[in-house]
């Protein structure tokens, strides 16, 4: 399994992860019909508690982004977020809250610098995830 991400979107996502450190960032990755990620869209992390290990996307903000994306014939293919000082794997909590129709792209941010970025496709039973190979597309 491969997920192709335009370099600009990839870099923006990682910069977002550094900017919100030590809190988690979150956002959307927008794809065309061929499942190629063209853009990243920042979302606010509206979790009410400590945000260093938790994110919540505001449903209405997500909805509006989804509509404007749909109007352009694109779709939200993946959710991205960061793990400050934690590996770029899906946590149990991530899995429990995952939707099988999205890929999940996680960037590890050890000590404030973006580290690994890895992509995951959660299984139907929310117990595991299959890793997708990220191809960064230049140009």
């Amino acid at each position: 399994m491969t997920i192709r991400i335009a370099k600009k979107a990839f870099d923006e996502m990682r910069a977002h992860a550094e900017a919100t450190y030590p809190e988690e960032c979150c956002g959307l990755l927008v794809a065309d019909g061929k499942k190629e990620i063209l853009e990243s869209v920042k979302m606010r992390n509206v979790f009410s508690g400590p945000r260093h290990d938790r994110y919540d996307i505001d449903p209405l903000e997500l909805f509006r982004a989804d509509r404007s994306v749909a109007a352009r014939g694109l779709r939200i293919a993946a959710i991205y977020h960061s793990h400050p000082d934690y590996p770029a794997t899906l946590s149990r909590f991530d899995l429990d809250h995952s939707f099988t129709w999205y890929s999940y792209v996680v960037t590890s941010v050890p000590k404030g610098r973006a580290g690994d970025t890895r992509a995951w496709l959660p299984s139907d039973d929310h117990r595991a995830a299959v890793e997708e190979e990220i191809q960064v597309v230049v140009g």
């Binding site: 030590p22 997500l62 939707f99 129709w101």
Partner: protein, 476 residues
């Protein structure tokens, strides 16, 4: 017919022939969703769980308002309404085995006496901050355990309770004050706990835990604390923990005696291994019926908090497979060894309980008050005043009887009723009462099952009787 628009998230378009909105004719939210999944059956598994309930992480917005704040799936639709399906996207890292969260200088100061202990240290304190505990019942046990967990820095504490604070709670539930009487327990608890430690998050579940919601609520927590005061909820919490593979830190209290254990089916017995069947309804009195020493739940709740912390730290020997008995009168602790029952219906080798059941029915306390014949205090007064022969049966405890009773009443505490049934005559017009009508409803149910077809329950108990006398006195 209403014409409403339903908007599908773009990610699901592949299941809707690439459509991201549809025009439907539905009278309410529920039928709109039904219409949608009928048209596109592939969507069903995304929107509904196996038991046919709408998935927890699916938000429905009607004209940008969450239907949970309207009438949920029953919300009616009108022409031109726009119904949106929006996933609730959330996630986050744990921190147990990595560097984990950082602490502010103020948190370092707060936890300094933990941090200097080798068994806790920075790693342990981070584990606490990354952990989550659900407290079922913000009462005698739940309030002290919540205070200690929050003070110790457990990052996320959930509280399940829908009760309001009563004056009779205050002698043991020391999180609450005189001025809180009448307010919601969970809301006051959250206010106070955040004052104890503002660095944690408190999540409220203001509802009655039952088979339809327990798994959904419990699954988001690492550890569950049973601070309940009734058998149906206790069995429910046990079974849900076994099914989810979570440790259940248990305690119970009665008068001067407390019990505590950790039921963790992965590593030891569960509550059902200890008590496969609930006691007959009404046999074991609750705190309201039997009383409890105010300080006892403080001790037992603190034991629960210490156990939860040990489990989070992974240190020491938890009470798995051991039942701790405490006697506050003789000030003695005892310990019993518990064994896992290989034939246990939930955690045994061949479990028969694989999903949550109806625990009210299992414990024989199904609310059948509508089937129980009732009499109001006013009607009883008129009968007595008219000189009719009424046999008054008081099923409270002797101490309650001594404080106040209806004149001429015979005392048979509910727990003794089955053995002393021969003291009653089926031909009598029996009116049963207790404090507020709960125990007497059980008694009437029991009696009518034994042929006492004329037995009636005094609605509202002696409380209603007193009020009726009072108002009578005032109007006279």
């Amino acid at each position: 017919m209403m014409s409403v628009k339903i908007i599908i998230p773009t990610a699901l378009r592949q299941h809707t022939d690439d459509k991201d909105e549809l025009q439907l004719n539905s009278k309410d939210v529920k039928s709109a969703l039904q219409e949608l999944v009928t048209a596109f059956p592939d969507l069903r598994s995304y929107l509904y769980s196996d038991n046919g309930r709408l998935r927890n992480f699916i938000n429905l917005y009607l004209n940008e308002e969450d239907v949970r704040y309207l009438q949920g799936e029953e919300t009616t639709l009108k022409d031109g309404d726009v119904l949106m399906i929006v996933p609730a996207v959330a996630g986050g890292a744990p921190g147990h085995d990595y560097q984990g969260p950082s602490f502010s200088p103020s948190e370092f100061a707060r936890y300094s006496r933990h941090l200097i202990m080798p068994e806790v240290g920075l790693e342990g304190q981070k584990a606490l901050k990354n952990s989550s505990v659900l407290i079922v019942g913000a009462g005698g046990l739940g309030t002290p355990s919540a205070m200690y967990l929050v003070a110790a820095g457990v990052g996320r504490v959930g509280i399940v309770d829908f009760d309001d604070i009563e004056k009779s709670n205050l002698h043991r539930q020391v999180l609450y004050s005189e001025e809180d009487v009448g307010r919601s327990k969970s809301e006051v608890a959250k206010e106070r706990l955040l004052k104890v430690n503002p660095n944690v998050s408190i999540e409220l579940h203001k509802l009655r835990l039952d088979s339809s919601n327990a798994l959904d609520i419990l699954k988001d927590y690492d550890i569950v604390m049973d601070g309940t005061d009734n058998f149906p909820t206790r069995y429910l919490v046990n079974d849900a923990c076994v099914l989810l593979g979570k440790p259940n830190v248990y305690a119970s209290i009665f008068r001067f005696e407390g019990q505590a254990s950790v039921f963790y089916a992965k590593e030891g017995p569960c509550y059902r291994c200890l008590y496969p069947e609930p006691p007959p309804a009404g046999l074991v009195p609750s705190c309201a019926e039997g009383g409890v020493l105010g300080v006892l739940p403080g001790i037992m709740g603190s034991i629960q908090a210490a156990e939860a912390i040990d489990l989070i730290l992974g240190k020491g020997t938890p009470l798995i497979g051991r039942l701790l008995l405490f006697d506050a009168l003789d000030m003695k602790f005892k310990e019993l060894k518990l064994r896992k029952n290989p034939d246990c219906p939930v955690c045994g080798e061949h479990p028969t309980v694989k999903a949550l059941i109806d625990y009210e029915a299992f414990c024989g306390v199904k609310d059948e008050s509508d089937e129980v014949k009732e009499m109001t205090a006013g009607a009883l007064k008129r009968l007595i005043d008219a000189g009719d022969d009424v046999f008054l049966l008081d099923v409270r405890e002797p101490s309650e009887y001594e404080m106040a009773r209806i004149e001429g009443a015979r005392l048979i505490p509910l727990g003794e009723l089955p053995q002393r049934i021969n003291e009653l005559d089926t031909a009598d017009d029996i009116v049963v009462y207790c404090h507020s009508g709960q125990r007497s409803a059980q008694a009437v149910h029991l009696l009518s099952g034994m042929g006492f077809k004329k037995a009636k329950n005094l609605k509202g108990g002696i409380v209603a009787w007193m009020e009726q006398l009072d108002s009578g006195a005032r109007t006279r």
